[in-house]
Amino acid sequence: MKFKCLWYSIFCVLLVVITLNLVYAQHPHLDTIRERIETRTYPSIFAAWGGVGNPPVLEPSGFKSTSTDGAL
């Protein structure tokens, strides 16, 4: 029974990976580094998610400020 669950889990993981490949592999994106830089729109914001080995953490997600003035 344990092995059955294990194989079933592996199968599910593989299925997700293959599906992601099929769905997203053909999505349009700009291939070259220069293209991505030159077509960038502004303001352009960067993010640093920590050093090697640290997975990305989005904090705090989608939070909006209440700024009321500006120079744009």
Binding site: I45, G50, V52
Partner: protein, 359 residues
């Protein structure tokens, strides 16, 4: 995450430790690098302009990442490792063997196809002071940059964190961008709370220099530090956020961030000011705005974009900006009519204040 144009992170890619304490085979806990690439393609779907940097610090590493008796540690006269703080010890990157490993690591990251560039943190002379002289340390850093550049794609991006300073001239030909981590009180012992006028001048000069003198394609990452003691949307933080954002927009073609301040790393809030869709720049960088068509104020810049204008004003006095067309202020949502439709003001908060719009 799709809102950001530049990311520094490993993104699920880990370096597997070996018995020697070093291994430069990129692996991930589960799966293969193709998993990370799938994720990357997915996120590109939301923002196809996104760039990914591998983050690296050559100066020091966490104490468990190398054996205690490794020859790669920097050692004092007694043979002890040199403490770098926060669980880290300094590395002796003047050793050619260590340089070769570092170069190989970055080249492998480049060849993985996941990363568009490398971001070197703490790229400043002289971390090895007292152990090696300026020339030796500078040459070591040059050798690492040269070794990487010789083996990676010509457009592979190399960015270094020099805080507020220019990099050493020897390094300039290899660099595509600066990470300007403009921390307060930099250099240490020189309090700059929050940012004194000379500090702002220095930041402006370095930013303007970088966009003109580094290797193409250039991507700078310009980071202002927030006032941690205040809420992220306090009037001061809002003004400083706008100052750094508009400074980046008018003097540079790079990316910008305003973080939560000391003790918070790079964590930040997403300001709705950044939701403005300015499009692409069509005006020149560092263009002074002439008040009433003839008065030039130091520290007053304007730049036209396809969808609007950005104004940076640290002149110390309120000024009226005349736009050639009707505009809507991003922040006030007020319609600005020509002439003298847009008023930007700066200078009423000591010791320096970001611009404020009052159209």
């Amino acid at each position: 995450m799709g809102l950001y144009d530049v990311h520094w992170a490993s993104y699920f890619l880990y370096w597997a430790p070996t018995r020697d304490g070093l291994d430069i085979e990129p692996v991930i806990p589960v799966g293969h690098i193709s998993v990370a690439k799938n994720w990357q393609r997915w996120i590109w779907h939301y923002n196809p302009e996104m760039l990914f940097f591998y983050s690296k610090n050559i100066n020091s590493i966490y104490h468990t990442e190398l054996p205690v008796d490794s020859p790669f540690w920097l050692r004092d006269d007694d043979g002890n490792r040199v403490w770098a703080g926060d669980g880290h010890y300094y590395l002796n990157f003047t050793k050619p063997e260590l340089q070769d490993l570092m170069i190989k690591e970055i080249v492998m990251a480049a060849e993985s196809g996941f990363y568009d560039g490398v971001h070197f943190d703490s790229w400043r002379c002289c971390d090895l002071v007292g152990y090696y002289d300026y020339d030796t340390e500078t040459q070591a850093r040059t050798d690492i940059l040269k070794g990487i550049r010789e083996q990676v794609h010509p457009d592979f991006l190399i960015m270094v964190n020099t805080n507020r300073d220019r990099p050493e001239s020897e390094h300039v030909p290899y660099l595509n961008g600066l990470h300007m981590e403009t921390v307060w009180g930099f250099p240490p012992g020189h309090p700059d709370y929050p940012y004194a006028v000379p500090g702002i001048y220095q930041i402006e000069r370095t930013l303007s220099w970088a966009i003109e003198n580094l290797r193409q394609p250039i991507v700078n990452s310009f980071e202002g530090f927030g006032i941690a003691e205040q809420d992220f949307d306090s009037p001061d933080n809002i003004r400083w956020m706008r100052l750094f954002t508009t400074m980046s927009l008018t003097l540079d073609n790079g990316t910008v961030l305003y973080n939560k301040g000391k003790g918070h790393g790079h964590s930040h809030h997403w300001y709705d000011f950044w939701d403005a869709d300015l499009g692409q720049p069509i005006g020149p960088k560092a263009q002074h705005y002439l008040v009433e068509g003839r008065h030039r104020y130091a520290g007053l810049y304007i730049r036209e974009f396809t969808n609007g204008w950005a104004v940076y004003n640290r002149s110390g006095q309120p000024v009226k900006i005349e736009l050639p067309d009707i505009g809507v202020s991003v922040a006030t949502r007020k319609v600005c009519y020509n002439p003298y439709s847009h008023c930007a003001r700066w200078g009423y908060l000591p010791p320096i204040s970001p611009n404020e719009c009052c159209c």
